[in-house]
Symmetry: C2
Subunit: 352 residues, 2 copies
């Protein structure tokens, strides 16, 4: 039985979204239990109004709420009884296998990192997301914005942790193919940091397939793509913007005249299929990766449907990706990498 | 009368694409003259076969061709009589107002920079493109890959030259709105380089609207977006990949079953309108910006339709954007910026 801890107060809409989202999620997942964390009086009231299945819900009181624009370090210092912090505490204490919040991203990252700590050998957590592509393939992209500047070592750590997650979720697929986001496929391309990362990845035991360009993420040819948080964030927002713009352009073409308007009615099943496929709510839920526990961030402005998808994402990770197993995998990868680097250093020394 | 110099041998398909592309372009533009540069025997033959209007075409012989995978510096050194080099020479010598090539990007950039030099005050040329967005608005994005590492000063120079180009093309619109690509709208976001660039832009006389995120480029709220060539290239490729993937997904939805297939026939006008709107050939033609002359790079693998669009892009720049005017504008902007910086330096000194 999986238990998720939910920050019931987080997000732009708080209880109005988290409670109906949780109820709809529980209807889909009969074997999951939720710990709903928040101000117990309004929370219990909202749960009663939504006719929530209380046999599978525990209400955990928390007296504070982190504001959406609060400085992360202040939230960490002053809001020790916030719904966000208490939800993450449930994971730390082993009462839940994952925590989900639609609250302030920076505060959630600071809290998660402080409470759960990073996996041994991983300096910083990253934000990761599965991006849909051709043939129903999903590519895990990271970092999507947690770290704007990264060293080559940190980028390699992202590759390792991303690869371990994908392997845990899809053991049947073999070693995940890892790509490095770059401006061309040739080895010699890119900034100094990217070139050094490329070399380190080549020396690793990961299934490194080389550089990938911005568009390759949709082509089902790679399972994990790694970039620093600056580039990753801009890629993600560019994709989201492109999907929105293209969607509105299709709508415009069908609204051009009476004939195209009529044709839209007939084309409705296909158009709905398309719309559903790219509904951003379906892709809600970013994973904070590299922590000793699963934390999923829902979009702050999402609705109940989107929030239920974030809960599903967390549930999916919690089922498949045991932290112990990921820790073992990361340790093995990093040990192999260290051995290769020691060898290189020895060879360099001998050559001098 | 506008004259364009065309590298007739460049690109994956050479004459088979450049000649029919040139002929179709000349049919659309009655007041343009072309200097077609290449090996004169096959070139004349291809022009005759395509029934090209020879009253508006001059053939300029060039004995060499730059290979698509040739190292730029070697091409520059060893191919002084290449069709690419001779085409750029036409601009330098004032015989043409712009040069167009579908050849090796690196070699074209090296050649253009060597032959034409950069505008006074601009350290490095950038690759720029107009990206389509909402309400038929186009946003100029640069740098799209010429410079993977940029200093804040160089990023500001890109903003200046981009702003001057847009102003020259659309004087009716007033001062172009300039945005800096970043991971959030708040001033404090980003890498150190981006933060410093933000400060410099705030002190400039440009119409700087602040940070823009990856998706803002489609929202018609900004006229020029600036990024280093690493980020810009990844944005561009991500967009192109997203358009392709979304297009193929729409196709799949309409091929799902007999009913959706039939509905696609009825929806054909709208679907065709959409397809045409996002046809990558229509957006062929990247501008090398910051040079003392107009150079446009066509995609190497494009067909005749796409090549004609690259010629149109060059023609458009050549008509509106006189280099003298851009040089004056750049000089004024950079002088204003230098004055502000000197003031700041004096204030800092006084404060110490």
């Amino acid at each position: 039985m999986i238990t998720l801890a939910v920050d019931a107060m987080g997000g732009d809409h708080g209880l109005a979204v988290t409670v109906p989202g949780a109820v709809s999620f529980l209807q889909q997942q009969p074997d999951v239990h939720l710990i709903m964390v928040g101000d117990e009086i309004p929370l219990n009231q909202a749960l009663a109004e939504a006719k929530a299945p209380m046999s599978r819900i525990t209400v955990q009181h928390a007296s504070q709420v982190v504001e959406m624009d609060e400085a992360p370090q202040l939230a960490l210092k002053n809001k020790k009884d916030s719904s966000m912090r208490v939800a993450v505490n449930q994971v730390k204490e082993g009462k839940a296998q994952a925590a989900v919040s639609a609250g302030n991203t920076g505060a959630l990252m600071a809290t998660a990192r402080f409470v759960l700590k990073t996996v041994e050998g991983i300096e910083r957590p990253a934000i990761a997301k599965f991006i849909p592509g051709k043939n129903n393939h999903f590519t895990l992209a990271l970092d999507l914005g947690a770290n704007v500047d990264c060293t080559p070592e940190q980028l390699v750590q992202f590759a390792v942790i991303g690869s371990e997650l994908v392997q845990a979720l899809h053991p049947e697929k073999g070693s995940p193919r890892v790509g490095l986001v770059n401006v061309g496929h040739e080895d010699i391309k890119g900034t100094d940091t990217v070139k050094q990362t490329h070399k380190l990845l080549q020396g690793s035991k990961l299934n490194f397939i080389g550089n990938v360009e911005g568009g390759d993420i949709f082509n089902a040819g790679v399972d994990v793509v790694v970039a620093d948080g600056f580039v990753g964030n801009i890629m993600l927002k560019t994709m989201e913007g492109a999907v929105k713009f293209i969607g509105s352009s299709i709508k415009q073409e069908f609204e051009r005249n009476l004939f195209t308007k009529a044709s839209a009615l007939i084309a409705l099943p296909a158009l709905k299929g398309f719309k559903n496929r790219f509904d951003p709510r379906r892709f809600n839920g970013a994973i904070f990766l590299g922590l000793r526990g699963v934390v999923v961030k829902s979009h702050g402005g999402t609705d109940a449907v989107g929030f239920a998808f974030a809960l599903e994402e967390a549930c999916h990770e919690a089922r498949a990706a045991s932290i112990e197993r990921i820790e073992q995998g990361v340790a093995a990868q990093l040990a192999a990498l260290a051995a290769v680097r020691a060898e290189h250093a020895a060879a360099d020394e001998a050559a001098e």
